[in-house]
Amino acid sequence: MVDEDRRLIAHLLRRAGFGAGPSAIDAAAAVGYRATVDDLLDTERHERPHEDLLERFHSEHCDEESPRWVALKWVYRMINSDRPLEEKTALMWHGVFATGWAKVTNGQMMAEQYEMLRDFGLGDYRVLLKKLSRNPAMIYWLDQQMNHADAVNENYGRELLELFSMGRGNYTEEDVRSCARAFSGWTMTHVLPRYPTGYWPAEFVYRGDDHDDGEKSFLGETGNFNGDDVIDIIVRQPATGRFVAREIYQFFVADEIDDDAVEQIADSYFASGYEMREILRFVFNSDFFKAALFKRVKSPIEFIVGTVRLTGQHRNAHQFGLDRLAKLSGMMGQELLNPPTVEGWHTGREWIDSAFLVERLNFATEKLSDADAPGIIEIARRISDGRSSITRDGLLDLCTGEFVHLDLDVATRRVIADELSSPEIIQCGGDELVAALTEILALIGTSKEYQLA
């Protein structure tokens, strides 16, 4: 059934990307669900967005000291990339390996970390952990440069186990100590003072003379382990498979954990040899994924980018306000490149509290009531194509079914229908339709259902 296909494809594009307008859904529906999954995963097939004009039109934000410039570019890529899954997966890892500019205070180092997550986030998780352990922003964030052979700093060793790979309860304090010792001597070049050289990112350095080469006992194995050896041991642990599976499940599938689905994803983690692409291929084609429509609360940046992709704004470099989008995400509780703690953001229903909900509603109604938004004009054009008029009820159904893709509760639908001021029969092809359309869309943007993806 065609409608069901479009519904599933819209779901896939919301989860594997940041949502899609009607023509992108048409294109995906034409090749089918499975081929769309493959296309999303085969990122090399598409070019990354061109950004030459960004610096020119957003020069006031090109301050490489500040994370705002990186966040602005990232938001631009989320909106425009033909490799949406690459950006989406980077966002997932950013939440897991949560590193904050508040401490790193170097925009270039934050940019490097995010781009590392983008470049390697869809590959081998073992490689990703090795890249992460060599990433200067991470090294500085968790004080790894102060982890010396004769003065162990446990911070990175502990968080690698607790928050980045295995989870609490699966290792001992001695394992933490051994893990930290294995990473002693993993450090970075000195960050130069700003004057007179300007900001420069630091580079990873391994200092053998500051590495504790002694025997270590780690997760039941004994040897003169270095950091890479420790990661090789970590990725083999069943707890790590379950940890990665849970992160993937909660980010791509649903807020409420389903143990059986997590177990299946963990199996796929081991069967694929820790390959994210293959794990995600399994997830997107699974029955549990296809049954998980609207089972996630949108994170703030998903909410913002999804709305902007619907309204068709910021599709070129010269529209102002990208910086504001990044800032709003912070006001809604998700400041990109500056999560509150190394533990990342609390997700799911915790995204919705009074202050954040107020910001979300204000933003959605602002964008969706904009009669000049290209995406809204495009929707009006599609509706007018082959129609001279449409009923108000028909327009509401078309909006929720074809364009916004929502499962409106019967009661919600009734309230929206009640509050509309447009005529019962709306003339197509002109201002009357656009006015009716923006009124409907703004009310949809106010609904509880619009908070879910």
Partner: protein, 388 residues
């Protein structure tokens, strides 16, 4: 006992402001045991010298950035609770903060202790602004399903559907109210129930809080940092008389594994000035005596420094500040003797739930045990109840 912990008397009701220092504040460099030679053995690089410390007595003194707090202490309005913690300390920020927020060290819970306090103070949910938090997001301490609490990032711009205007805003607000009004309870729609509840709270809270800044005037000039602005917002709401009983503010950056000397001086300088301005503002409006501030952090830090900072530890300290606080030192300063340490940390001698119980019973006049999940000895005489 008055109903629901409210007191009538002069009409003033007790108010609690909780200030969370996130990241694990280093108590040993906040209240410095400069008189103990062991301190300088362990704090070779990040120690505070005897000359710099603001002496409380011949053994200990405040960090030099805490001049205003020292003055409040000298006026008798600061209680220092030494050696605070809980059994089997957890050195994970996340977990330890959760333990302080839920008052449940033994198990994972999403019920906040202040959420339970708000439920006690306002069981019929008559006032959605009984609890107001400033900062990014509602802290778990104030989170309790079905109990409203407002979270404000910035008071001046707070409002709902502000992008619409005129008739379309009125229609949208009307639709909003109808869409978010709770329906029959449906097990399968917990998330929708939650969103609906938060939406209704937000709407009611917006209407009340919007009015607060307009009626506020003060000669106190707060600093521009986020903590000072949060405390200013709290003062505005308190002075507007909206009935808010529990406020929450947060200040981050205390995870000083490195660069401790500079960072700690900056952070405590901000706290010290903001707290002083806050109480001066309230006194100016005869609205200080009903306010007690509790300052805490999720844990202290290791006794021995790591060369440039300190790693996660246990056994820290907390403060109660206010006109009704009987200032002074409470509890024992934990011994720095290596044999007395707990794997390199200070040994706690006061359970944080004793402090909570003291505030609950002596300040709010509500039964502490169900809120803190057990019975804990109170600190005697630390708080002089309002209207007593």
């Amino acid at each position: 006992m008055a109903q629901n912990g409210t007191r009538t008397g002069k009409g003033k009701q007790p108010v609690l402001v909780v200030l969370q220092l996130s990241g694990g504040n280093d108590f040993m460099n906040t209240v410095v045991p400069y008189g103990d030679p062991l301190y300088y053995d362990f704090r070779k690089t990040v120690g505070v010298s005897e000359d710099e410390a603001l002496h409380i007595d011949s053994r200990i003194g405040f960090h030099p950035a805490m001049a205003e707090i020292k003055s409040l202490y000298d006026e008798g309005n600061v209680a220092v609770i030494q050696g605070i913690g809980y059994p089997a300390p957890d050195r994970s920020h996340f977990r330890s903060m959760d333990i302080w927020h839920t008052a449940q060290p033994g198990e994972f819970s999403s019920e906040g202790w202040l959420g339970r306090v708000i439920r006690e103070l306002d069981p019929n949910k008559q006032n959605v602004v009984t609890g107001v938090s400033f900062g990014a997001g509602l802290p778990r301490a104030m989170y309790l399903t079905g109990t409203p609490a407002i979270s404000v990032t910035e008071l001046e711009s707070y409002g709902l559907l502000t992008s619409l205007s005129g008739t379309s805003q009125r229609r949208a607000l009307s639709a909003f109210t109808r869409m978010y009004t709770p329906e029959e309870f449906d097990e399968g729609a917990m998330v929708m129930q939650h969103i609906g509840q938060i939406g209704m709270d937000a709407m009611a809270g917006v209407d009340m809080l919007k009015a607060a800044p307009a009626n506020y005037s003060s000669t106190i000039e707060y600093a521009s940092d986020p903590l000072a602005q949060s405390l200013r917002g709290i003062a505005q709401i308190h002075l507007a008389g909206l009935g808010t009983r529990v406020f929450y503010a947060q200040h981050g950056g205390y995870d000083v594994h490195g660069g401790q000397v500079q960072i700690q001086a900056k952070l405590w300088g901000e706290v010290s000035r903001a707290v002083d301005d806050f109480f001066a503002d309230l006194r100016q409006h005869d609205a200080a005596e009903e306010v007690v501030m509790m300052v805490f952090s999720e844990f202290g830090r290791r006794v021995r420094d790591n060369g440039n900072g300190t790693d996660h530890g246990s056994g820290g300290g907390a403060f109660l500040i206010g006109d009704r606080v009987n200032g002074g030192l409470y509890g024992e300063y934990p011994s720095l003797e290596p044999t007395e340490q707990v794997s390199g940390d200070l040994r706690f001698n006061n359970d944080f739930r004793s402090m909570y119980s003291t505030v609950l019973d002596d300040w709010f006049n509500i039964q502490p045990d169900p809120i803190v999940n057990g019975h804990f000895e109170k600190f005697d005489g630390i708080l002089a109840p309002l209207n007593s």
